[in-house]
């Protein structure tokens, strides 16, 4: 009940948070801008260039969706970091923690609120996927629960990382750290070029520690450019999702441990 009270109160705060609203509006603006060439391709499509235009439209849809999906990761980290940092900055944390609330309950409430926010984001993103695919003349055949759970697992990781870093560093630095993790994750992916420039043990160590968010990408089973489904067994889905949520849980537990020892002064 206490965790739920903190979560719902924080969620209400998110809906009024100027920074998050501005970020969301910017995202929306970028998506609308990205949609304009797609609509232009559609407008100039004729019987002669139909196949070529269709490919262009679908690649545009894929670009918008991966942009939205990637931004969601940073949105999750930003929301998580500000949810904790805002309480420290305003001093409201003192009135909350004076109540019979354990420190881990406070963080769990904050985390839950971020996941509620990201669920709304994923549902919006899912709606956008279906809309764009429909506009592109295709139908997404994947089960909706997969398109919800995969990004949620990724966002769970980034939100937990955001909360973990903000328990011992400034919000801006924490957000920068999440960004660094995301960049390193991309650069160290098996198919990425950076791996070859690093000593094997450094590469192995970093690869083991950093989250394998590529594994949690919807691309593993869905290629929107051809609206095809790759055959992935349910066991593979379960194992991949379990990896994602497990990674997030470890980060969250580390955040709770770190938060237990931090001072709760107004900053």
């Amino acid at each position: 009940m206490k965790i739920w009270a903190i979560a719902t109160n924080t969620f209400a705060g998110f809906l009024r948070d100027r920074l998050l609203i501005v970020v969301f509006i910017i995202l929306l603006g970028i998506v609308l801008l990205l949609m304009s060439p797609m609509l232009a391709y559609k407008a100039v499509t004729t019987a002669a260039n139909a196949a070529q235009m269709q490919a262009l439209v679908l690649s545009e849809v894929a670009a918008i969706m991966s942009f939205l999906s990637g931004c969601g990761s940073f949105f999750a980290a930003l929301a998580a970091a500000t949810a904790v940092a805002a309480e420290m900055k305003s001093g409201t944390i003192q009135a909350v923690m004076a109540r019979p609330v354990k420190r881990w309950q406070f963080l769990a409430g904050k985390y839950l609120s971020v996941m509620m926010l990201m669920l709304c984001y994923v549902v919006l993103m899912l709606g956008m996927s279906y809309l764009l695919a429909w506009m592109g003349g295709e139908r997404i055949q994947s089960a909706p629960w997969l398109l919800i759970l995969y990004p949620m697992a990724r966002y769970a990781i980034y939100a937990a990382l955001g909360i973990l870093f903000v328990t011992f560093m400034h919000t801006a630095v924490a957000f920068g750290m999440v960004f660094l993790v995301a960049v390193l994750t991309t650069l160290l992916a098996p198919t990425a070029p950076l791996g070859g420039h690093l000593a094997p043990w450094v590469h192995t160590a970093l690869y083991s520690v950093l989250p394998s968010t590529g594994l949690l990408s919807e691309d593993r089973f869905l290629s929107i450019t051809s609206a095809n489904l790759h055959p992935v067994s349910w066991l593979d889905h379960v194992a991949t999702l379990a990896y994602g949520f497990d990674y997030a849980l470890v980060c969250l537990l580390l955040a709770m441990w770190s938060f237990h020892y931090r001072t709760l002064r107004r900053e």
Binding site: M1, K2, W4, A5, I6, N9, A12, G13, R16, S90, G91, T92, Q94, A95, V96, M97, A98, R99, P100, V101, K102, R103, Y261, T263, L264, R265, R266
Partner: protein, 310 residues
């Protein structure tokens, strides 16, 4: 009876890791707050009051020493469920109104939301915010926010109330209401530990005071112990003849003429003699009051008067 709060040889040092600087906020501080008493915590700015209160609430960890609150470690939920806390500059969620904020705090206190409505209304009535319960707190005046802070501190009928500057931002009527509230809470058996800059108020409502300066305990005791009699009395009379005035001055006394009469200050050993002479001289004695040192005088003597307040 075990103390409501106990500090034993507590030391706290703030460290700035990268600059290698250390500031001792508290050095070997020991004191107790007995159950059922109203105890003031005084000291100039930077004396270590907020650090002590933060340690008591479990927001900070001491570097050395032992702290117990209601028999538990600070921050223990069993202790916190019996504590009401008003932080200095009570912070709030601007998007909530008073009713929703108190409902949120009731939920955190483990109070069933279904039954909290009546309690919330009663608390809002107590702090005169009933009419403004649906107004966003962001639109409240400073005094209203402070009253709301007091209301949230009273949720759950706490055994121990820790109030950091409870009358800050309140008008004289509001301050009186807080004083009356403190008196009524003490009568109900609650323990109150408060810090305030207004020493005259502390004198009126507190049983005991603890004074800290530069992170060290400089004095602690009951008001009777702290405010020792000065050995002089103040006599207020309706009039005073010039002969009588020179006689009083000869006793190393003092005379002060005011709108409500003449105030004489004489040594306590000459009290009877002075009264008899005044009566004989046909003066009407309005009052006779032993003069005690004020808390402000004591405070300024102890901390050197350079701290800028309590």
């Amino acid at each position: 009876m075990s103390p409501a709060a106990e500090f034993r040889n507590v030391t706290k040092v703030y460290r700035r890791r990268f600059l290698g600087q250390e500031v001792a906020a508290l050095t070997d501080v020991s004191f107790e707050v007995q159950a059922g008493e109203v105890c003031a915590f005084l000291g100039p700015n930077g004396a270590g009051k907020t650090t002590s209160i933060s340690i008591l609430m479990g927001f900070l960890y001491p570097d050395a020493g032992e702290v117990r609150v209601l028999g538990y470690e600070p921050g223990d939920v069993r202790a916190k469920s019996q504590i009401g806390f008003l932080p200095e500059n009570f912070a709030f969620y601007k998007y909530l109104n008073a009713e929703k904020l108190l409902r949120f705090h009731c939920a955190l206190a483990g109070r069933d939301n279904g039954n909290s409505g009546e309690l919330i209304l009663e608390l809002l009535r107590k702090v005169r915010l009933e009419e403004y319960k649906t107004l966003k707190i962001g639109k409240y005046s400073r005094g209203m926010v402070q009253r709301l802070g007091i209301a949230q501190a009273l949720i759950g009928d706490p055994k121990l109330l820790i109030l950091d500057e409870p009358t800050s931002g309140l008008d004289p009527a509001g301050r009186k209401e807080v004083r009356d509230l403190i008196v009524s809470l003490r009568a109900a058996g609650n323990t109150i530990f408060l810090s305030s800059h207004i020493l005259s108020e502390i004198e009126q409502v507190c049983d005991r005071a603890i004074i800290v300066d530069r992170g060290k305990l400089v004095r602690a005791g009951t008001m009777e112990e702290l405010l020792t009699p000065s050995g002089r009395v103040e006599i207020l009379v309706n009039q005073l003849s010039p002969e009588m005035e020179s006689e009083v001055m000869a006793w190393s006394g003092a005379v002060e003429r005011g709108a409500h009469g003449v105030k004489l200050t004489v040594d306590i050993t000459r009290k009877r003699e002075a009264i008899e002479k005044l009566w004989a001289a046909n003066c009407d004695v309005i009052s006779l009051t032993p003069i005690r040192g004020s808390l402000e005088e004591l405070f300024l003597n102890l901390v050197g008067g350079d701290g800028g307040g309590a």
